[in-house]
């Protein structure tokens, strides 16, 4: 029952002309969760999010957001969902305060001034209240956008790459706020390209070429992908890298500082590939946990074969 789910959609399909941009997409987001939405550029994340908040009409499928039908009750959804667009889309020629006031009034909040004051306070925007939005730095713009999107205390936040192009400190701060909102019971669906953000999500859905490839609690993703990883550490790793790159049994190899992570799905084949390096002088080979990044790169590589 959708009482437990903030988002419950199935079969979502969207075509632009001939091109199917989102294909038979399903997603169940439990209330209060932070759900990560990952996928390469152009995979359909933004399009999917727009369908969920009534900005785009699906060509097929449907479902509910906060229990309301995403097609028939889109107006109700709009008043209960906060949507932060990928591209900054508040008014650059209005000040921070004017933007927030405008949003408060569009949502027909009682006593908009009070809401604005609270938001300025909460997001530490008060010192910049009279600055034009265009003149804010990237991090502050995103913070203003989050403040504007959560102005009307939505039960569900859809955040589309909220931290793209923002410095690490501002990103950390932003995520502290997202977790804070989640603790208050707000459900958050957030798309991102950053792995350090992905690991902070309770669940992750990965989409490529419009199709969902995996959808699981974030801790289970590497295991689901089924990759086994070995870590080779030592000096002068370049020849090792070159040799293993095309070795049978090695599905993926990546550098991690002074180490290599060599992954494959077939344990025996992988073992045969790395065996020669186990005795090599100056190298240590030990088992490692497959990371999210390796899992996703592996998924992307696979999806290209399937769909391109």
């Amino acid at each position: 029952m959708s009482g437990e789910l903030a988002i419950d959609v199935t079969g979502l399909t969207k075509r632009f002309g001939e091109k199917t941009v989102v294909d038979d997409f399903a997603m169940q987001v439990p209330k209060g969760a932070i759900y990560g939405f990952l996928g390469p550029n152009g995979s359909g994340k933004t399009t999917t999010i727009r369908m969920m908040c009534g900005l785009l009409k699906p060509d097929g499928g449907g479902g509910t957001a906060l229990g309301y039908d995403i097609v028939r009750e889109s107006r109700t959804i709009k008043s209960r969902v906060g949507y932060m667009t990928q591209k900054f889309s508040l008014y650059g020629d209005l000040t921070v305060r004017e933007n927030l006031t405008f949003m408060a009034r569009l949502h027909a909040l009682d006593n908009p001034g009070q809401h604005v004051a609270a938001a300025l306070e909460e997001y530490e925007l008060a010192p910049r209240a009279n600055q034009l939005a265009d003149t804010l730095s990237g991090g502050w713009k995103q913070r203003l956008a989050l403040a504007a999107a959560s102005m009307h205390s939505p039960g569900l936040l859809l955040l589309d790459e909220p931290t793209a192009g923002v410095d690490p400190k501002a990103r950390r701060d932003f995520w502290d706020r997202i977790r804070g909102l989640a603790r208050k019971g707000v459900t958050v669906l957030v798309s991102t390209h950053y792995m350090d953000e992905a690991v902070q999500c309770d669940f992750i859905a990965f989409i490529a070429y419009g199709r969902k490839l995996i959808d699981a609690p974030s801790g289970e993703i590497p295991e689901r992908v089924g990759l086994i990883t070995w870590r080779i550490e030592g000096r002068n790793l370049q020849p090792v890298y070159d040799a293993l790159y095309h070795a049978p049994g090695v599905d993926q190899i990546a550098r991690f500082g002074s180490a290599l992570h060599v992954s494959g799905r077939d344990a025996d084949a992988l073992e045969r590939a790395i065996a020669p390096y186990r005795e090599r002088e100056g190298l240590t080979v030990e088992p490692a946990k497959t990371g999210l990044e390796e899992a996703f790169i592996w998924l992307m590589t696979g999806s290209e074969d399937n769909f391109q």
């Binding site: 632009f16 727009r50 908040c53 009534g54 900005l55 785009l56 009409k57 107006r75 109700t76 709009k78 008043s79 969902v81 949507y83 667009t85 591209k87 900054f88 889309s89 508040l90 008014y91 650059g92 020629d93 209005l94 004017e98 006031t101 405008f102 949003m103 009034r105 569009l106 949502h107 027909a108 504007a148």
Partner: protein, 368 residues
């Protein structure tokens, strides 16, 4: 109620943006002033020293007194004296000459006999504004020239004025109602279409659409500030017309208010329609010009409407500017009342209903 407060929010936001965009705001106020001055003074001042040819059928003292008076009036510059009809025709055809004065043979004799001889002024009225002042002054001028010789014997001659190429001979007063129509067409349609397209171009439309704001709330909220701007333009131009050029306002203010309000609404909804088609502000501007140019050429602003070929008149009838100019000329210059301009009000209302409906149907509730 919540809808109303959302509309107020849109209006407030739009005003802030408008006032902050100094250049555009300056243009909205500056364009009417500039155009009025351009048309009023540079193009429209009563021009003097216009080339004149005299066909002398008689050269007695009375004829010479008339020529003398014409020269001192400054309206006419004597370009030559001829006796050849063919020569005067050619000169006028080529536009070298704006006036031809014909003094018939036996002019002096008829004059002294009290037989009221005719004196003929041919004017090139294809530019009625240029020829207007001299033409108007001519009869009195002749009268005055002859007074010292004949006393106040009234009137000693009959002045016949023949307007060539544009027999209607529109007066300078016609410019102001026309200008009102053209400027409102230009600024109202352009400003709204650009202001609305800007939301799509900058991505802020996505923010608007993600709130429960309804399409008509966006429309009313975005358009209302420009209604006010339209009225400011009207006031500026009316005041200028009155105090700079003495254009009268003879008709009913109510009829004027109805015509102007309706016309402003038509142009705003046109701008709204354009914004639903254009993807960028540049496109919106180009579409405005697509309507703006025929509005100048076919509305009776540039050329007398009755003088246009039938197909052009049909096109012109479909343009709101045509009806507006027609109505406002009647109101300002001929003292028309609301009932008199009804034949122009209905088409305006119909055009407004049609455009507004299409625009509302086209307005995107979603992003696709």
């Amino acid at each position: 109620m919540t809808g109303f407060s959302r509309i107020l929010a849109m209006i407030g936001k739009e005003f802030i943006q408008m006032l902050r965009d100094r250049l555009t705001f300056g243009m909205m106020v500056g364009i009417p002033v500039m155009q009025l001055l351009l048309f009023g003074y540079a193009i429209n001042t009563d021009p003097r020293h216009l080339p004149t040819l005299v066909e002398m059928g008689d050269s007695g003292p009375a004829s010479r007194a008339i020529l003398q008076a014409m020269e001192t009036s400054n309206y006419f510059d004597l370009a030559g004296i001829t006796t050849s009809r063919a020569q005067t025709e050619a000169a006028m055809q080529q536009g070298d000459i704006l006036f031809v004065v014909t003094i018939p043979p036996d002019f002096e004799r008829d004059l002294l006999r009290g037989a009221r001889p005719q004196i003929l002024l041919d004017t090139d009225a294809s530019d009625p504004v240029a020829a207007g002042a001299g033409t108007g002054a001519f009869p009195t001028l002749v009268q005055r020239a002859l007074e010292p010789m004949l006393g106040e014997m009234t009137p000693p001659v009959e002045t016949v004025i023949q307007r060539r190429y544009n027999p209607a001979g529109r007066t300078a007063l016609n410019i102001v109602p026309g200008l009102l129509g053209v400027i409102l067409t230009m600024t109202m349609a352009m400003m709204t279409s650009m202001a609305l397209t800007r939301e799509a171009e900058r991505g802020t439309l996505e923010t608007l659409l993600a709130t429960p704001t309804r399409p008509y709330e966006v429309m009313i909220g975005k358009i209302t500030p420009y209604i006010l701007v339209g009225f400011i333009q009207v006031v500026i131009m009316l005041a200028g017309a009155r105090y700079l050029f003495g254009v009268p306002f003879l008709g009913s203010p109510l009829a004027f208010l109805v015509s102007v309000s309706l016309f402003i609404l038509v142009n705003l909804s046109l701008g709204f329609l354009f914004s639903t088609i254009a993807r960028t502000q540049m496109q919106a501007m180009q579409m405005t010009f697509f309507v703006f140019l025929p509005s100048i050429l076919l509305s009776g602003f540039m050329f007398p409407f009755a003088g246009m070929p039938a197909w052009a008149q049909m096109l012109g009838q479909a343009l709101p500017t045509t009806h507006f100019i027609h109505a406002v000329r009647a109101i300002m210059l001929k003292g028309a009342r609301l009932g008199d301009v009804a034949p122009d009000i209905w088409p305006l209302a119909a055009i407004f209903a049609a455009i507004a409906t299409v625009a509302m149907l086209r307005y995107r509730r979603t992003l696709d």
